[in-house]
Amino acid sequence: MVKVSNGRCVRRLGLRSMGAARTRNIIAVLAIALTAVLFTSLFTIAASINYSFQQQNFRQAGGDFHGTIKELTWEQVEQFRTDPLIKEDFARMFVGMPTDPPFNKSHVEVSYMEPDAAPHYFCAPEEGTLPREGTNEAATDTHVLALLGVEPKVGAEFTLSFYIDENTKDRQLVTRTYTLSGWWSYDSAVVANHVLLPRSEAEELCALGSGDPYSMTGVWTLDLMFKNSLSIRDDVNAVLANHGLQGEDPSAENYHRIGVNWGYSGVQLSNSFDTGTLLAIAVVLLLIIFTGYLIIYNVFQISVSNDIRFYGLLKTIGTTPRQLKRIIRQQALLLSLIGIPIGLVLGFFIGNKLTPVVMSQLSYKNVFVSFNPWIFIGAALFALVTVLISCAKPARVAARVSPVEAVRYAEGAAGGKRGERTAKKGASLPAMAWANLGRSRGKTAVTVISLTLAVVLLTVTYTFSLGFDMNKYLQNKADVDFIAGSASYFQTSGMFGSEDDAVSEQIISDIDARSGITESGRIYGQTSSMQQFITEDWLRHSWEGWSTPEVLDMMVDNAEKVGNLLADRVTVYGMEDFPLSLLNVLEGDLEPLKDPSKNAIAAVYFTDDYNSTEWGTNYAKLGDTVTIRYVDETEYFWRDTGEVIDDPGILDSYSGSREWGTRSKVYEDKQYTVCALVNIPNSISYRFWGADQFIMGAEQFVQDSGTSSVMTYVFNTTDESEDAMEEFLSEYTDSVQPMYDYESRKIYEAEFEGFRGMFMTMGGALSLIIGLVGVLNFINAVLTGILTRRRELAVLQSIGMTGGQLKKMLIFEGLYYTLLSLAAALVLALCAGPLMGHALGSVFWFFTYRFTVLPIIVTLPVFLLLGAAVPLLVYRSVARHTIVERLRETDA
């Protein structure tokens, strides 16, 4: 094909013909903008969640630098620094750690940091400065200051005792008094707290060290930033390689320890979006593309069929189909150039507003709104792709037009295949209006679908939020006002395993000192070693989900045995009367638990999300005898000879082939009678999957296990004092006992409402925007429908249709559009509703499907108004021209 430079001419044609279609342009720009709004807000929300997730990871990882070269001397630091691969670098010298109370539960590091490093460790002072060289200044965070009991005020003096050579046998406690040069707020997501010293002070302290080669004191680390975070591990290794070192094989000579910030790695990134989330995002993306397609396609389709004579003319005088396509594509791109930026800006604002709503439902401590340029690039690209897909078919239609036919082309000619109408009774206004809708079935269908989509989405949103069932949500929560326990117990992967996690009597008495408590009780958790004895079958049954058959056989072989029963782990609660009353008794009676002389025990059966008992989750039946072994001491032994290993230390470095095991050495076996089978509400149970569970009375538990670690303290208050208690606990667990936390009925209810609110807000926003798109589509359809028929309407008037009759016919047309949409939505709601309800019910256990057409009924008046008002308004602008003027309009 000969390449002719006709681009400019084609472009001029495109531009000029565009100028002629002002209304089309406005609607197309709006449509493109709305599509871009949808994409941008979706991407903003997704990117913000991801960004917040990453920020949370950085805080847990300790900083946001890409990689680290560890265990360096200052000379090495200076050598590595010159490496051209490194974009930025920050050196830090570790000095020591305070580990004695009050720091026993916190991770605090004393060190010198180069000033530029501080922000990367989240140590930028909010007030004051970093410590100045040659002073006795130090900077730290509010958490360390709180533990020391010092007010965060620049210039305050504080004394800190900490260990140097902390990780060696020769650790040395040093005590220094510093002047606070600056402080920053404690961020609970950050794992390590820092006390920063001037370099001279740090070096002076390190000089006191023992010089133990394994000591961390005086050791430098060099944190690195590279050009990007795509291949951090390779980059760090490349830096090492430049100095003849490597960080991969610890057994080789030239090994040097490195760190790669896992907050950046792709694994973490993909974890933050599980398949479900990705699927949801994909569905929403497709929905947006479809919505955008519906309107942009309609706008271009209509405009092409209106201008078909023009395209026919162009073709007659020698414009090629390719050039015609280019003209249309060019117009689309030009309109995108205006529409997309508008959409990006609006979408970003909407996304910003919605992000916190979504984030409040995810357990992130810090919410960051991302301003990632990729949001805009991505949204713009998606919007552009939608535009291009949408105008592809209209462009093809224009390109394929035959010059001769184009002159005769009239809207509705496509439907002329049937060529006949069978109506016998003649024409009535409603029938004419109906026939007019049928002229361009594609346009009508697309318009109706886009309106339907909005209504359906609204119905789904409403059904969804209506179906959120508070009772179902609360049914696996204990019927109690407050639960207090260690913070780790309440974490998502709840933990309770040591006395450190126990609620101290001090806390309980602090709570009891408050007024308004009506009922209360302790739930003791297991912190000592206990075993139960079960049949081989049950052992296999309870482990088979987690283990291969070989491992199961080995477990059976290796288990300690009493008769034909095998020892296995067990999980036991001790409960005071009040928590006992929160249990759901399936069989038997809890009374015997309260008398330690009865040696009674209750067997716990779990429930599924729908609160029905899973009978396979315990083996004990009413009246059974359960043996619990309290192990005080265990010993190691060789499996082949049974010989006791006196010094278990040798096992650390043992590399022979002899197998060894552990067994109870000092222990007590005690037998209990099962007096009841119970369900325990999730909110007061061990919040992790463990072994078979049993419940004893509190006295029995304390007496037999010899431990009294309170896992949770549960209590009810009078209604009047509930708010005050909530406030007290919130304040108390924040400042006085930060390692402890609580849950309350209010929190559950707020959680639930928040979740529902999120769906309402998101669904509402989505319905609203898609509704806008639908209405825009409708306006466009009515507008073009009337404008292209200006002449025909004038004819109708000239042969005797009154203005009133004409308006009536147009209103009928408008109403048909909107009522058809509602009918379609209704049919969808009727057919798909129960199906969707069932699906939702199986995903969200607290969802109860309730059939509703309320959104459709509510939209009815709006749609009636729209259906009547839009045609009237458009007609009014047409009616400004006299019949003669309109009749005179030439066909071209």
Partner: protein, 223 residues
């Protein structure tokens, strides 16, 4: 009996330097049952005249009366209703409603008026115009001549006092034109229908009973 009468009918477009006198004082009258052709060149004012006669446009001054009623005295709504009862139109490009069948198009003016069509009369019209086999067709499936016949049938259906035809053969070849003119003449005769037709074609005009020639907004010759 006079069905149509104008008195010093004037229509002026624009003002000042761009003022155009489309009609500069037209006086004419048409008797019942007459078939009158108005002839003039393009821009002579003949279309403006037709629009005035049909009440589609209002004169700057002067008056038009149809069937004894003065059009200028009627409000828009009233005028429309009067028009659909008393005046039938036949246009150069047929102007049929594309979504209605031939039969529905013919009945449309009567039904818009909320009247029951006179079945026998409609049957006669259809018969006269040879449309029996086409009643269910949509206009787009008909030839130009056939479409114009439907338009004539539509104009006749309401038994108007007068039919105004605007270049009814303008889009047709000469044979079909002869055909359509023949039909107009026949209907005029058979139904006693008054017809005013405008055309620029002398040959076509010859088929009318009377020719009125118009130039620069004035009647220059009557015959």
């Amino acid at each position: 009996m006079t069905v149509l009468e104008t008195k010093d009918l004037r229509k002026t477009y624009g003002a000042g330097e761009t003022e155009v006198h489309a009609l500069a004082g037209v006086n004419m009258s048409v008797q019942k049952g007459e078939f009158v052709a108005v002839v003039g060149t393009s821009g002579s004012g003949k279309s403006t005249l037709l629009h005035m006669l049909g009440g589609l446009d209002r004169p700057t001054s002067g008056s038009v009366s149809v069937d004894g009623r003065e059009l200028g005295s009627m409000a828009d709504e009233e005028l429309t209703i009067f028009r659909r009862r008393k005046i039938g139109f036949v246009f150069q490009n047929y102007n049929l409603v594309p979504v209605l069948s031939v039969y529905e198009n013919i009945l449309l003016p009567i039904q818009l008026d909320g009247r029951e069509p006179d079945g026998e009369y409609i049957g006669q019209i259809i018969d006269t115009l040879g449309l029996e086999g086409k009643l269910k067709n949509l206009p787009n499936n008909l030839s130009g001549g056939q479409q114009q016949r439907v338009a004539i049938a539509r104009a006749l259906a309401a038994k108007p006092a007068i039919i105004l035809a605007d270049e009814p053969t303008g889009n047709l070849d000469s044979r079909t034109s002869q055909d359509v003119m023949g039909l107009l003449k026949v209907t005029s005769a058979r139904f006693g229908q008054t017809i005013v037709m405008i055309t620029h074609n002398e040959e076509i005009a010859q088929m009318a009973n009377r020719i009125i020639r118009i130039e620069d907004g004035l009647i220059v010759e009557r015959r």
